[in-house]
């Protein structure tokens, strides 16, 4: 069964600066700054290709990166965090 579908703000809404290992994001709609660690930036990028549920996202990400087994739960946990921060929303 498919989980909830998530949407990310487009690239223009977010300014990103790399700071050794972490990414500082300025999110214009909220005026808030978030420091995010991998895999959060990768998830946001994958989600910008179009709305998706956790399973689709996992597929998009594993097309590019080597990832461990059984990662759907971890992706969902990351999406929950990103949703709480307002960086992604449910469709």
């Amino acid at each position: 069964m498919a989980g909830p579908i998530y949407i990310a703000d487009d690239q223009g809404a977010v300014r990103a600066v790399q700071l050794d290992g972490l990414t500082a994001l300025f999110h214009a709609p909220s005026g808030m700054t978030h420091l995010v660690a991998p895999p959060a930036p990768q998830i946001l990028d994958a989600l910008r290709q179009g709305p998706a549920d956790a399973r689709t996202l996992l597929a998009r990400i594993s097309a590019v990166y080597e990832i461990e087994e059984g990662s759907a739960e971890a992706i969902e946990a990351r999406l929950d965090e990103l949703e709480a921060a307002g960086l992604v929303r449910r469709a």
Binding site: Q11, R15, A16, V17, Q18, T23, M32, T33, H34, L35, V36, A37, P38, P39, A40, P41, Q42, D45, A46, R48, Q49, R60, I61, V64, Y65, E66, I67, E68, S71, E73, A74, I75, E76, A77, R78, E81, L82, A84, A85, L87
Partner: protein
């Protein structure tokens, strides 16, 4: 300044130009990957005010403080009378770290006061002072 910014910005995004087959750890379900910067006053508070926390606040004056920091009717068994004067910012800092008990308080009531302070929420007397004592979240 604009130049440096555009060099640093990940304009292309991470996926557009990835290192093929880089290992990406998705992390444990419980780990956190987002830290949000909050407004801060903590470091400057000593410079901007002489801060104190009334226990309890004037809106609840007369009530006693239970060991868990909640407010109860005066004389409730196991509860403590309020301190004679407000707790200063410095004392609160010491109390919250479980350090020495300020003068004129016994350790059990000090513990109850510390718990009261921990339960303060925005809008209550003393909250700004308490919030300012917090380490960065």
């Amino acid at each position: 300044m604009g130049d440096v910014m555009s060099e640093q910005s990940s304009k292309e995004g991470v996926l557009a130009n990835p290192t093929r087959r880089t290992v990406l750890a998705l992390g444990a379900a419980a780990a956190s990957t987002v830290v949000t910067i909050r407004p801060a006053l903590a470091q400057t508070v000593g410079s901007v005010m002489n801060c104190e926390i009334p226990v309890p606040g004037p809106e609840h004056s007369g009530q006693y403080i239970a060991a868990d920091g909640s407010l109860v009717a005066p004389g409730t068994p196991g509860s403590f009378a309020p301190p004679a004067r407000p707790i200063t910012g410095e004392e609160a800092k010491t109390l919250l770290r479980g350090g020495l008990t300020p003068n004129g308080m016994d350790s059990q009531s000090a513990q109850a006061y510390a718990n009261y302070i921990r339960r303060l929420q925005s809008g209550m007397s003393g909250f700004t002072c308490y919030a300012s004592l917090q380490l960065p979240r």
